[in-house]
Symmetry: C2
Subunit: 262 residues, 2 copies
């Protein structure tokens, strides 16, 4: 298994505080030691930092903790390998381009019964996994499914959501499939077994990490209109109320809060 961390906000925000606690779980407070990664969207551009070293020992993770990169869509992952060796090509998040946008995906879970042949894997030649994880296979299947339904361009969110929800349910039959998926415009979070979120907005308060002795008073570092959603496998703070996402729920976050798709 692995752990996920995501952020979606209405103004570009840095994730240093949350990433500090999260990355401690890559070998210090928990044993997700088989690599890590983090993707930051800046408009349509995307930068990803990846390392197959444990996040608590990785100089790149140390750099990311120290250097505030401001983004509205962030996806991070610490890995505990189930399928696929410990290697750079098996580190999440994975990235692909579809419809002239980068898509980024990270998975927590294990899909032991997920074989390509069990699912209607049409047009399988377009997106192919580079590494050998079940996670990257699932990501490619999602994007291939998107492309089969909408060959030319990205459809409106609702249409995209319906297709994503359907393929997600199909894949989830094969095991545990918690994931975060974003193209820098939309931010999807699927809970199969375990995922939660918190919305931080005015009036802001202080938050204290579970994994490190660190407190931040968000009142001092925000403006009244800021809104930030943090999505994580397990709560990162011990003095805030985290909302549990229900198994089977596929949420879309926008502007720092869950969106109603109707």
């Amino acid at each position: 298994m692995c752990q996920l961390l995501g952020m979606n906000c209405n103004v570009p925000t840095d994730i240093c505080f949350s990433f500090e606690g999260f990355s401690a779980r890559g070998g210090k407070t928990d044993d997700h030691c088989d690599g890590w990664g983090i993707a930051f969207f800046e408009d349509k551009g995307c930068r990803i930092f990846l390392d197959s070293q444990p996040s608590i020992k990785s100089p790149i993770a140390e750099f990311v903790k120290q250097y505030p990169i401001h983004s509205t869509h962030v996806i991070a992952h610490i890995r505990k390998a189930t399928q696929g060796k410990v290697a750079l090509e098996n580190c999440h998040p994975f990235i692909r381009e579809l419809w002239g946008r980068y898509w980024v995906f990270a998975h927590n879970g294990n899909l032991p019964y997920f074989q390509e042949k069990n699912i209607n894997w049409e047009n399988r030649g377009i997106f192919q996994p580079v590494g050998n994880t079940d996670s990257e296979k699932a990501f490619c299947l999602i994007l291939n499914t998107f492309r089969n339904h909408f060959p030319d361009q990205q459809p409106p969110l609702k249409e995209l959501y319906l297709v994503l929800d359907q393929i997600t349910q199909e894949i989830a039959k094969f095991g545990v499939f918690n994931y975060l998926l974003s193209n820098g415009e939309h931010f999807f979070s699927h809970c199969s077994t375990k995922l939660c979120y918190i919305i931080r907005q005015a009036p802001f308060a202080a938050a204290h990490l579970i994994d490190e002795e660190i407190t931040v008073d968000f009142n001092e570092v925000t403006t009244a209109s800021d809104r930030v959603a943090i999505i994580a496998t397990a709560p990162l703070t011990d003095n805030e109320h985290w909302t549990v996402i229900q198994p089977g729920e596929l949420l879309v976050f926008a502007q720092g809060e869950p969106l109603k798709i109707s």
Copy 2:
């Protein structure tokens, strides 16, 4: 215009020395200030560092200069914008997945007359640019051409080379098209106007950077069987002999030296 730096070696090697001199050209010894990027392959995995800040001011570039990442296939770029605004999505190298491999591309030049419609841009829907540079368009056209010729899997190198050479010549009609392209297995270098390389192998000697007061004695940091090719827009050292690649030449580097394709 921009500048290119590439490295291909027979054993994973760090590029800190060359990158130190190269990145100085991003605002100190030259004016390629509109962003930079560097991609390192590690087996099939790939990590890319990108920044729209000048390389001499970028904390990420500073980190890359200090932190030795060992790789056999490296592509770096410093940008002086001709087409496309200064933004993360317009920083080279660009990345895509094809045939289950990441492909990475960086371009030096300008293709003012390059319009998609002037070239037989079949099946244009597969790879699409995310940003708005001529360079990324050209990269997508190369990959779309690859895919049209070989829909299912990567062909032997010679077949791939012939297709690449042909599409490269077509694109080069539209302007200046020096580029580096790699999938972590093959390493292609095309000279349209300006590109050179040096092979470092035993007996190793000291090398002195043009852009910084730095000398490295490679004798002290290598073993007798190491071989490293450095490819660059302009020589990086002033006490070594750099070989000029001829305009129109498409070279393939492997194991730290140019390969004969016959």
